[in-house]
């Protein structure tokens, strides 16, 4: 197989969409937080916690969707803690976010070790299986990639649409966007900036947790240490790349995942001529390059990272 023939294989596109799923969910979650003016650097830890929570619930006997919901709930709780600190108290979003990541991942590992003290190879669960959508999945080439995927992948696509509509077509979305641009405008209308930001961060964090849960419940079927492996940070880069727009976030995540799927296949084509680590570095380097390229023309929410304290001018 040649380096360009990879692009013609169905399995490549199927893999790209699968790899994109957690990125779509995570990016969407971060986007919602940032649209309300809060940079959520807790994403990496919240994804870790979500991955464990979803997997653990199923491992303990809950059904799959219950697992997803539980993951979302613990994610939202972490989001509540984040917003209590950064929104209500107005603490540094940078340091708090890192703190949340450290806290969420350490609690995750603690709980995992409490429940499974002596396990060396992580137990597997009966995970989500691909659900081919009748008719659509039979469309040649894209049918397999887009319509024969895990239900969580469909959920990710649907959420992009829902978040897009919510943000641009409803009073709630208008309030969220205004909070990210000029919170005093929101306060002047008798709405609570703290309430809106807290809600947005909790919702966003729930999405991040589902992103993590996808990895344990649909991709690897087990929980490993360090399994998020920087995906959260990549999501943050993707939000900037997407100029804080849900549609572009979907595009960015798919593009990124396509690169990732491509390099994995390219590795097999090229063999050991280039060390595999070089390929593994690419996603991280790619994110940095994307950030540089986009930096000149971004419409950053004006109040992002600026804590809002009532009555302080």
């Amino acid at each position: 197989m040649d380096w360009f023939e990879i692009l013609w294989t169905t399995s490549f596109w199927v893999a790209a969409v699968r790899i994109a799923t957690p990125l779509i969910l995570g990016t969407l979650g971060e986007l919602v937080c940032e649209r309300a003016g809060v940079l959520n650097l807790g994403i990496e830890g919240i994804m870790t916690l979500g991955a464990m929570a979803g997997w653990m619930s199923v491992f303990m006997g809950a059904d799959l969707w219950t697992g997803v919901i539980l993951a979302a709930i613990v994610g939202a709780l972490m989001g509540a803690l984040h917003s209590m600190l950064t929104v209500s108290l107005g603490l540094s979003q940078h340091v708090t976010g890192i703190g949340i990541t450290l806290l969420a991942s350490s609690i995750t590992y603690y709980i995992y070790r409490m429940v499974l003290p002596e396990v060396t190879s992580p137990p597997r669960i009966e995970a989500f299986t691909n659900y081919p959508i009748p008719l659509l999945s039979k469309i040649p080439w894209i049918g397999e990639a887009l319509f024969n995927q895990s239900p969580l992948t469909y959920l990710a696509f649907i959420l992009v649409i829902i978040v897009g509509i919510l943000l641009y077509r409803t009073p709630l979305g208008l309030a969220v966007r205004t909070t990210g641009e000029n919170p005093s405008a929101v306060e002047a209308q008798g709405m609570s900036v703290i309430g809106i930001r807290t809600g947005a961060v909790m919702f966003g964090s729930a999405l991040m947790a589902i992103a993590g849960a996808f990895l344990t419940m649909s991709a690897f079927n087990a929980f490993f240490f360090n399994m998020i492996n920087g995906r959260g940070w990549i999501c943050i880069a993707l939000v900037v790349f997407a100029s804080w727009h849900p549609g572009k976030a979907l595009f960015g995540a798919l593009l990124f995942a396509a690169f990732d799927a491509y390099q994995m296949r390219l590795q097999q084509v090229i063999g050991s001529a280039i060390p595999y680590q070089v390929f593994l570095m690419l996603p991280y380097l790619l994110s940095i390059v994307a950030l540089i390229l986009i930096s000149r023309r971004v419409a950053i929410p004006q109040a992002l990272m600026i804590p809002y304290r009532k009555g302080e001018r």
Binding site: T170, E181, G190
Partner: protein, 523 residues
Amino acid sequence: MGFWDAGTPCSLPKIYIPVVPEALSLKNINKHFGNLHANQNISLTLNRGEVLALLGENGAGKTTLMNILFGHYVADSGEILVNGKFLPKGSPKASIDAGLGMVHQHFTLADNLSVLDNIILGTQPIWNFRLQRKEAADKIMDLGSRFGLEIDPNFRVAEISMGERQRVEILKALYRNAKILILDEPTAVLTPQESRTLFKTLRQLLNDGLSIIFISHKLAEVLEVSDRIAVLRDGKLVLEENVSETSEKMLAKAMVGRSFKMPIRKDLPAGESLLALENVSVLSPDRGRVLDRASLSVNSREVVGLAGISGNGQRILADVINGMQSPNSGTVFLYGKKIKRFNPREMLVKKVGRIPEDRQGFGVVGDMNLEENAITEVYKNKDYSKLGFLNLKTRNNFAKKIAHEFDIRGVKKNSPVRLLSGGNMQKLILGRVLLQEPKLILAHQPARGLDIGAASFVYERLLDAKMQGCGILLISEDLEELLMISDRILVIHRGKIIEAGKADELSMTNLGLLMAGRQVNAS
């Protein structure tokens, strides 16, 4: 077109039967912040269909009172009645629903959103499925044409002028069926002519049954526009009169409490040229020519005033002279020599003193103490550091000297300067600038937000500097201030600078026309 038959059904205000003549009455409002008694037993009424002017210096308690009215603060004691009904405390929503509408001095608009989105924010229940943009746009157009507040609702706020933004703010209140409109320093961003249009709009609103509170510190316009006047001083209501029974003098005295002598300008023969700009332009990627072939000159022993409505290129002009911004074309001469590199350090070395517009953001490092702030501009001079090591002794002495000569009060050891009052902070900046013995001073809104005492202190020191041979460029949006201090006045409009003439020979009207971009025959 009459009021009741206008527009779509949704633009009809709720019909209510007046039961009391007072639209609004405040009863014995008290509010403390720590040791500060910001509102002391204030009782005030606003009658239906009148304009009540609320006068007071900065820090007199106006803002606190309005914040209580709008539920942002809760009063320690006291009641508010709107149309005879008690207003629930601490609920902004309740205040808006009761028919109160506020036009803030610093607009509460989101620049990146459309005018329409800004107006309809918060008018629908938040869990509604659909934003009613179409209906809203119709209502806005209708309100606009009825009250002379036309604006295209699809523009982004960032694209419209300050005057238009104010219209958006008023429309916001009207859209919510406000019956009581409160305007905080509404003319600060307008030319005298635009102010006139605003007053006309206000009259129309009164005819429509609204009542208006007009907050200002400009006595002339207060006397012109209002029916009754209330004056606050140090948190107390010191005067409440019908306008016919007051005079400018009486109001001034009530506001300040003591009589204040404003400094008097003396004409001096202007000396050699210090600063000259020739056809200086600055291009901004999204807003085009923000400074458009601007030329001006400042000589020693003169104060040159630059008038203009906010947002017409003053900031960028100041930044060029500050050294924060390199011009795209044109030349800047300092003491007859062309400036090649634009950076703040360069300007400091060349003895340009700079008083920035935003004193908290640019003038001081709020979280550092007085000593550290004293030397921000001089720490590299040999008196204050050697071989990269600071001389803490000379630093502390310099800080002491500033504090002493410029009468800075309220400094505690090691406490950050952000805790200082605006006046004391400005004295620190002024002292830091003047003690470096500058030849040229750029003063950008040096008295903004200060009380009369601090403001006159600033003016006095600037005029002293002029007597000692300094040239001063004073950029301001306050015409009274400009006419009082400057020898010569320039006007900036859309990045272009026009010479207006000598301050003694200028009228407010002519200045206003120039500020609006119109040519005037030399008076």
